[in-house]
């Protein structure tokens, strides 16, 4: 992954009006505090030495999901050309946690940004054949134009923020 790929990813996010922040593992909590309103639900991140802060409810009930302002999850990879994050379906609830809040915060390692869809599908094919069986390629917030104009947050999040961990 080159600097060019990260820059392309950022350009794509800009176009989608999706915010992003670069940070380190140590500063993650501070960044999340700035980005998130309470109540926040989340799923523990699969990165060594990285934890979600204590104010994030990581064992939500349906009532918590319904009340959540923010859902924080990891993203398996991101796709630079499209500004997409790939959210995997896991038993600990990445999919519902990323779906019910008004804001979805996707946390991602810089090295997991791939350039385009062919690279993404190489990765996805491998993942699917080795057991990770579902993923959502999410690009910007939920949206609809069915009511006569573009509105964000038809059923899913109204906003997305990407936190990039610079290792």
């Amino acid at each position: 992954m080159s600097t060019g790929t990260v820059a392309t990813f950022e350009d794509s996010l800009e176009r989608l009006e999706v915010g992003w922040t670069h940070t380190s593992s140590g500063e993650l909590s501070t960044v999340l505090r700035e980005v998130c309103d309470d109540p926040a639900v989340g799923v523990e991140l699969p990165y060594d030495g990285v934890e979600l802060p204590p104010w994030v409810n990581t064992d939500p009930t349906p009532a918590d999901l319904r009340a959540a302002n923010v859902g924080i999850t990891a993203a398996g990879i991101a796709i630079a050309d499209y500004g997409s994050v790939v959210v995997q379906g896991t038993p600990d609830g990445v999919e519902p946690v990323s779906l019910f809040g008004d804001l979805h915060v996707a946390v991602l390692r810089k090295s997991d940004i791939v350039s385009g869809m062919p690279e993404a599908f190489e990765w996805l094919g491998e993942e699917f054949r080795t057991g990770h069986d579902s993923a959502i390629i999410a690009t910007g917030p939920s949206a609809t134009a069915d009511m006569g104009a573009l509105v964000k947050g038809a059923h899913g999040p109204k906003d997305v923020h990407v936190v990039i961990l610079d290792e």
């Binding site: 779906l99 069986d133 939920s142 134009a145 104009a149 509105v151």
Partner: protein, 733 residues
């Protein structure tokens, strides 16, 4: 006008008035979005070719892929059922719901479930079915059918939706803005999803290797539908199977861009059910979701309903490559003006809708709207899997013709010089045999023109042939292009090239001046020209679905031109719709080698002039200008062939200032605009072109157009005359 024609015209008129504006705004926007979005791809054509190859291969291997998929799904812990028809599918789905004691099914958008009308079956079994796609929900509340395969409620304006919601739900504060309407729907539907027992989705693609289904959506309702309840039923046609996960990539890149012009939709769900995500049981709101039962139930219901027969049908097979993106609807000028309620059968609408309806519902359903395809071909390059949609429409038209029984068969059969059976309507026979009419018209001109203009003739023509009395008829010339050419000395000293000017019916009999101009232009550029006696291309009968007659023409045309090609002559064609025959449809009629030879030797006249000038022919042999302002309308098939740029370049080279129209089609498209049932639609479509040529910037420009029908339509839309561009540049002598 006959009663049937009158009724059709009235229905179209009504739809233009009530739904036309809303449909036009959306589809034109989607279409414009497509042009912009595909530009972001490095290799658009390559990606389309790849997508098509995957579909061709998948349909070829379909039985094997279905076997593989069944094994995969069962290994994953789900169930796969192949339903023979709608009733079979509905019974299976109802039984799944009954086994679950389901009171409510939430559904995300799926055309296949529209096709089988599963909602009716479930509602009859006392299951509450809720459409969660906002557009579909609007239609469910309004009790209406979709008018577009991707954006089902585009025919309704925001105001109409607000009125509908305010009347139906009587909210405390009347809803008004799109934001308010959306948030209201989100709230209502969110609650209904929370209490649902079964989630039903469609599937855009399913991979045989892993059993992964791809759902292309933007709202997030499909995700909630699949993840909240513990039972998931996915309904899809058997043609949705592709071999492997990697095969999804070109489709994912193409589908949003082709359809709504989005780079990509917000969510591409790649689900391999039963999924690992925990269910979200809102009846038990205080137990953490990770402690919920994860024992999900998944049923994949694949529907045949005529598809496997389509697979065996050489002509309809391509329909199965369709990925339901809606590009063919959005690019279609007629669809832009009337929408799917005129352009639709039982379920599917728009360009490819004819193929689907013919395959899954039968010819009767397909016949209802088949005529609305004018064969303009703009959809063929818009389609991300390169389906020849006009050809499918022509084949279906031919089959409809053959299925029709008319009481005047005995009268017509044997009197008309075509290859068709008796069933073809008089109207279609007239237009299909226009070459004969043109010969008679020229032979007896100007008397023929005078006779046809009388009110008695016009009434008879309207009554028996359905030719609208409001449409001006072509005026036949006594001296044909061929007569003129034969009577003159056309010797060019030391020619740089030798060519045949193909005398199409209109150039030869009606628009003779453009033919003369073409000859003068070519000769001025050093080309030795001949104008042989060759039959018409067959475009006219093909447009009427008279395929056997068109094929007969193709063989005669090739026979008439082959020797000239052997001599090394180029074939120069003025009429773009005829060139399009040589370059496309003749592939179906001629041997591969013959088709290739004719296609490779044929050029559009301005393309040819461009080539001559590029190769050193003297520009000053042609009429140049200081900065004459020209308004140019290319021709739909010419644009599909990628040829409009040559005319623009030649005109610019000669000093003209060119403004080109960007409407998809003038609305005339050959015989379409003459038919009384379609006359008003043709004029409505034409009004966009009229508007573009009447702005402050364009209203005083000289109008030029490439196609016969475009010129006729422009003449009826504008007060100033129009000509073929070659008449502008031809030396005056």
């Amino acid at each position: 006008m006959s009663k049937a024609r009158e009724a059709k015209a009235a229905k179209i008129r009504q739809l233009m008035e009530t739904e036309g504006d809303a449909v036009n705004t959306s589809t034109s926007g989607f279409n414009e979005g497509r042009y912009q979005a595909v530009q972001t791809l490095d290799d658009y054509e390559g990606l389309k070719a790849e997508a098509r190859a995957i579909k061709e291969d998948a349909i070829e291997r379909l039985p094997d892929l279905l076997d593989q998929l069944r094994e995969t799904i069962e290994e994953n812990g789900g169930t796969m059922y192949i339903a023979d028809d709608a009733a079979d599918a509905n019974r299976y789905i109802r039984e799944v719901c009954e086994d679950k004691d389901a009171e409510r099914v939430v559904k995300s958008k799926s055309m296949t479930s529209e096709e089988i009308e599963v909602n009716d079956e479930l509602e009859a079994a006392d299951v509450d079915v809720v459409e969660t796609d906002l557009g579909e929900w609007v239609l469910q509340v309004a009790d209406e059918a979709p008018s577009h395969i991707v954006a089902p409620a585009i025919h309704k304006s925001r105001e109409a939706i607000a009125d509908l919601f305010n009347e139906t739900f009587e909210p405390d504060e009347p809803l008004q803005t799109a934001e308010e309407l959306t948030m209201f729907a989100r709230q209502q539907l969110g609650e209904l999803i929370e209490g649902a027992d079964v989630g039903m989705t469609g599937a855009n693609f399913i991979t045989a290797d892993t059993g992964t289904m791809a759902l292309v959506t933007s709202e997030g309702n499909a995700r909630k539908t699949a993840v909240v309840p513990d039972t998931h039923v996915a309904v899809a046609g058997v043609e949705k199977v592709v071999p492997a996960v990697e095969d999804l990539q070109p489709f994912i890149e193409l589908i949003g861009k082709s359809g709504t012009g989005q780079n990509i939709t917000s969510y591409i769900s790649l689900l391999t059910p039963p999924v690992e995500s925990p269910t979200v049981d809102f009846d038990d709101p205080d137990t953490p979701i990770t402690e919920n039962e994860t024992d999900r139930d998944f049923h994949l219901v694949l529907i045949d309903n005529g598809r496997l027969d389509m697979r065996d049908d050489e002509q309809l097979r391509e329909t199965l490559y369709c990925i339901r993106c809606s590009a063919c609807s959005n690019v279609c000028a007629n669809f832009q003006h009337v929408g799917g309620h005129a352009f639709g059968g039982e379920t599917y609408s728009g360009g490819i809708g004819t193929g689907w309806e013919a395959g899954v519902e039968g010819l009767d359903s397909a016949a209802e709207f088949n005529d609305l395809c004018t064969g303009c071909s703009r959809c063929t390059t818009a389609c991300p899997v390169n389906i020849d949609i006009p050809w499918i429409n022509t084949v279906v038209r031919d089959r409809v013709n053959r299925g029709e029984v008319s009481e005047v068969d005995w009268l017509v059969d044997g009197l008309t010089p075509d290859e068709e059976p008796g069933g073809v309507s008089l109207q279609k026979r007239f237009f299909g045999n226009f070459e004969t009419a043109a010969k008679v018209g020229s032979t007896f001109a100007p008397v023929s023109n005078w006779v046809t203009q009388t009110s008695v003739s016009r009434n008879l023509m309207e009554r028996f042939l359905g030719i609208d009395a409001r449409r001006e008829l072509p005026s036949f010339q006594r001296e044909t292009l061929k007569d003129w050419f034969d009577a003159r000395d056309s010797h060019v000293q030391n020619p740089t090239r030798t060519a045949v000017l193909y005398p199409d019916v209109y150039t030869n009999h009606v628009q003779v001046e453009r033919g003369k101009a073409a000859v003068r232009t070519l000769e001025a550029l050093g080309v030795d020209v001949v104008v042989p006696d060759v039959r018409s291309s067959g475009r006219a009968p093909l447009s009427q679905g008279m395929i056997a007659t068109a094929e007969d023409h193709a063989h005669d045309v090739y026979a008439g031109l082959a020797e000239y090609i052997d001599e090394g002559r180029d074939i120069v064609v003025i009429e773009p719709s005829d060139l399009a025959m040589f370059d496309n449809e003749y592939e179906k009629f001629l041997s591969e080698k013959s088709f290739q030879r004719l296609s490779d030797s044929s050029f559009e006249v301005m393309e040819y002039v461009f080539g001559l000038l590029e190769n050193g022919a003297p520009t000053d042999a042609l009429e140049s200008t200081d900065s004459e302002e020209v308004a140019y309308h290319s021709h739909c098939q010419q644009r599909t062939l990628g040829l409009e740029g040559y005319t623009e370049a030649v005109l610019a080279d000669l000093g003209y200032d060119v403004a080109t129209s960007d409407v998809e089609c003038c609305g005339m498209a050959g015989s379409f605009g003459y038919k009384s049932e379609y006359y008003e639609l043709s004029m409505d479509v034409g009004s966009e072109l009229q508007g573009q040529f009447q702005t402050d910037e364009t209203r005083n420009r000289t109008v030029v157009a490439s196609g016969t029908s475009c010129l006729e339509q422009l003449d009826s839309l504008l007060r100033r005359p129009s000509r073929h561009p070659v008449e502008l540049i031809a030396p005056r002598r």
